[in-house]
């Protein structure tokens, strides 16, 4: 009963209610602009809300978080430029829909499914947080490594027509992720003696370049063609289609919550894994994946919003951040005189229920703001390309700079933009590159930790994998997916996929 009272605090106080709404609204736009991230917004808010009480400050942050994760899907669908890393998978089927003039419908589904995913994430947070966080702690370096390998197998489903080109792109991404001073030993890797490369290549810069700039350059080919008129008659998906995707969204939301709750993995990986999951379990999509399958929208959008609830689980129960945003929130709680840690739930249970309440509220506002104002948003795609392309390029530059206030990130972004343009022109998919960059550190660090923990013995590593139930399950999944990916089999047999076509 006490819990409900705390839960309702943000609902009943008009000021808090307004702040959640304002945060969510701002979050949708912050998320939609590539280069502006929720992480940035929240760390600026710390300074901004310094003198405030902790409740209003948290309301604003929770709103921005929820709205921002969702907002990334907007630009992904409309322009093929994911506004945030967690929307990369959304672009794969969202953009083809916009090209067919169904952007309104795509945004509608993305919004409703984000709401469903967000809600499931919060429900898990509310009823099972302690259990899930204990489970998340069980993950050993070898398990994180297996998780990364599982992620890398996605190259198979992101490669398009040529697997070997996909493998190249994936390996390239992994390599880009290792550039700079090694985080574990401070050894220089691929720096070629340049200190400017010590900090590595910002992953966001690669993403903006590969998606934003290369897409803008690509569109110059048909700069004179008028843009596709967007039908916006049907935005809210009907009940029947929501019910149809419900089983899938339950599965992908579970993936989202779990991956979100693991410290060290977040919504970006969750969305990609959910996309792959959808691709495997959907027997007969109405439209093939990659050409505008609705399932390809449902999966990543449910998963990344479910990951928000997931990220709060270790934060609120143990004081361990579930992702970059919750890491900053922990800092904010300290600044506001609270001590986030295992005792927070016991000493100040109101914090837990208050945040849960604010999250539900933010989720509702996200649904409202997501479903209204689509008309104005779709106007963006209908803008003449002669204006849109220079604007995208400028925004890409500013966005890449903003990530780490670094000029070299701008150069990298442009470099990868041009490289991405040529790769696209010659039949490479760019998805695997980004996948590689995302997973690089996860794989590299945990592989090394796992091996060091076993004192350098591969046999010890395998023994560890086979004796731990969790590792065994993960290992079995890796093997199963690897074998069951029939295209892979077919491709390996037929000249590594260079000429295979169904």
């Amino acid at each position: 009963m006490q819990a409900l009272e705390y839960f309702l605090i943000p609902w009943l106080d008009l000021k808090l209610l307004f702040l959640v709404a304002a945060g969510t609204f701002a979050g949708v736009y912050v998320g939609a602009i590539p280069g502006l991230s929720v992480t940035m917004a929240v760390s600026i808010l710390i300074g901004f809300t310094f003198t405030w009480d902790v409740y209003p400050a948290l309301c604003l942050m929770v709103g921005i978080f929820m709205g921002g994760v969702y907002g990334g899907s907007r630009t992904a669908i409309l322009l093929n430029i994911p506004g945030a890393p967690s929307a990369i998978a959304t672009a794969m089927d969202g953009y083809p829909l916009a090209q067919k003039g169904q952007a309104g419908e795509a945004i509608g589904i993305a919004t409703v499914m984000s709401f469903v995913g967000g809600l499931i994430g919060i429900i898990v947070l509310a009823i099972a947080a302690p259990t899930v966080s204990e489970f998340a702690l069980v993950f050993q370096p070898r398990d994180y490594m297996l998780l990364a390998v599982l992620g890398i197998l996605l190259v198979g489903s992101l490669s398009g027509e040529s697997l070997v080109k996909g493998i190249f792109a994936g390996a390239m991404g992994l390599l880009i992720g290792t550039v700079g001073l090694d985080p574990l030993t401070a050894e220089e890797r691929f720096t070629f003696g340049l200190t400017g490369l010590w900090g590595g290549i910002s992953f966001i810069a690669v993403m903006i370049g590969m998606f934003g700039v290369s897409e803008a350059l690509m569109q110059l080919h048909h700069v004179d063609k008028t843009a596709v008129k967007q039908k916006i008659s049907r935005i809210v998906p009907n009940w029947a289609s929501i019910r149809r995707y419900l089983p899938l969204s339950l599965q992908t939301s579970s993936i989202g919550v779990l991956i979100g709750a693991l410290p060290g993995t977040g919504g970006d990986i969750a969305a990609l894994m959910a996309y792959d999951h959808a691709k495997r379990v959907t027997r007969n999509p109405e439209v093939p994946f990659g050409q505008g399958a609705k399932e390809g929208l449902v999966a990543p959008e449910t998963a990344n919003n479910a990951a928000v609830g997931g990220a709060f689980i270790p934060m609120l129960t143990l004081g361990i951040p579930g992702d970059a945003v919750t890491a900053i929130m922990i800092g904010a709680l300290y600044i506001h005189g609270l001590n986030p840690g295992p005792m927070l739930m016991i000493e100040q249970p109101q914090m837990f229920w208050f945040i849960t309440g604010a999250l539900v509220l933010a989720n509702i506002f996200m649904l409202i703001f997501g479903l209204t104002g689509i008309r104005i948003f779709t106007k963006i795609v209908e803008m003449p390309r002669t204006v849109l392309i220079p604007l995208i390029l400028l925004l890409s530059i500013v966005g890449a700079y903003a990530v780490n206030n670094s000029i070299s990130d701008v150069y990298w972004m442009l470099g990868f933009g041009v490289l991405g343009y040529f790769m696209k022109s010659y039949g490479y998919q760019l998805g695997p590159v980004i996948l590689g960059v995302i997973l690089s550190r996860l794989l590299d660090e945990n592989w090394r930790r796992a091996i060091i923990s076993e004192q350098g013995s591969i046999a010890g590593l395998f023994k560890g994998m086979l004796t731990s139930p969790l590792s065994l399950v993960l290992l079995a999944t890796v093997v199963l997916i690897f074998v069951s990916q029939t295209p892979l089999w077919r491709c390996v047999r037929g000249k590594l996929g260079l000429e295979s076509r169904p």
Partner: protein, 334 residues
């Protein structure tokens, strides 16, 4: 309205003429950049974001704080070093730059900077997984020696706090352990709770909540006297006096400007941050997290840095963890 416009134009013209050369009486004439070496949400970040708003009040200007991560803080250090020494770029950092030279991370360290304020110092502590078969320092050493290389120590790479503390301990006794590297003490402490590592030398502030919550157990404090936060925990310097010479030692947070910054600007910044370090918010944050407020400036701060660098670099060098000898850079032996 017209008057404002004229005033505005005059200001604009003045600004254009002055360029970057600022006069101290006007300082700060524009916003000051505060470059934080570590990521948002980290301990350096939290400390700087708590103290700076109070310093701003004294300064009468705005400090825009930016996180510039990478290269163990070397990227941010280089960035501030490349700016004009006019007091409009502050380096907000931790202890790491003092190790750059011996670690082969370039030759720009705090000797190129003037300390504005060494705000606070952390106290290291040895914590262990709850299931570890030892509760005290002696039991731990005995167990490690009986099971060589089996006990996993969390680390944050060469030069990080865990590696320094491990080197300190190992300088007096045999300590055959496996060091598992993590990219920060947060992830390593998480791994400690999950049992991926057994023991972790960490800073008290980062581990205190997990200790209070009974998620991990404290073995010993790496200092000469027990702390108020955990009064029952023995201090290594008391139980094992052979270590006492090393202490007090710990990571620290400080605000710096590039050498050559006008003296009156340094004075104004020093005053502002000294005032900020006295603020209630900052004092409470530091107490809660188990940090010791130092608030050193001027010669005191220089001496602190010199002593810290000499002790730590030689310790790491003797443990074989450095790429170059401290001697090469004229760092005296402690």
């Amino acid at each position: 309205m017209k008057k404002t416009l004229v005033k505005f134009a005059a200001m604009a013209a003045l600004g254009a003429v002055m360029g970057t050369a600022a006069f101290a009486q006007d300082y700060p004439a524009k916003e000051i950049q505060g470059i934080i070496q570590w990521g948002a949400g980290g301990s350096t970040d939290t400390v700087m974001r708590t103290v700076t708003p109070h310093a701003e009040k004294v300064l009468g200007g705005k400090v825009v704080m930016k996180n510039m991560t990478g290269g163990v803080g070397a990227i941010a250090t280089k960035f501030v070093y490349a700016q004009n020494p006019d007091g409009y770029a502050l380096l907000m950092g931790a202890e790491n730059p003092l190790l750059y030279k011996v670690m082969g991370l370039g030759d720009i360290d705090y000797s190129e900077f003037t300390p504005i304020n060494i705000l606070a110092r952390g106290v290291p502590i040895l914590v262990a997984n709850n299931d570890a078969p030892f509760d005290t320092f002696d039991e731990m050493v005995e167990y490690i020696q009986a099971h060589p290389n089996e006990v996993k120590f969390g680390s944050t790479g060469p030069g990080g706090l865990p590696s320094v503390v491990t080197s300190m301990i190992a300088s007096k006794i045999e300590l055959p352990v496996t060091q598992v590297p993590y990219d920060g003490d947060g992830p390593a402490l998480t791994a400690l709770q999950g049992g991926a590592v057994d023991v972790m030398p960490a800073v008290l502030g980062a581990s205190i909540e997990a200790i209070r919550g009974g998620r991990i157990k404290a073995i010993t404090l790496i200092d000469n006297k027990p702390t108020e936060v955990l009064p029952d925990l023995p201090a290594l310097g008391e139980t094992h006096p052979e270590y006492a010479d090393y202490f007090p030692w710990g990571p620290f947070f400080g605000v710096f400007v590039k050498n050559g910054t006008p003296e009156d600007v340094v004075a104004k910044l020093t005053e502002a941050y000294a005032e900020g370090a006295k603020s209630e918010d900052f004092v409470k944050l530091m107490a809660d997290r188990g940090y010791i407020i130092e608030s050193l400036s001027g010669q005191e701060a220089q001496d602190f840095l010199t002593k810290w660098q000499s002790l730590t670099t030689w310790l790491l060098h003797d443990a074989g963890q450095t790429k170059a000898s401290p001697e090469e850079f004229g760092i005296p032996k402690p």
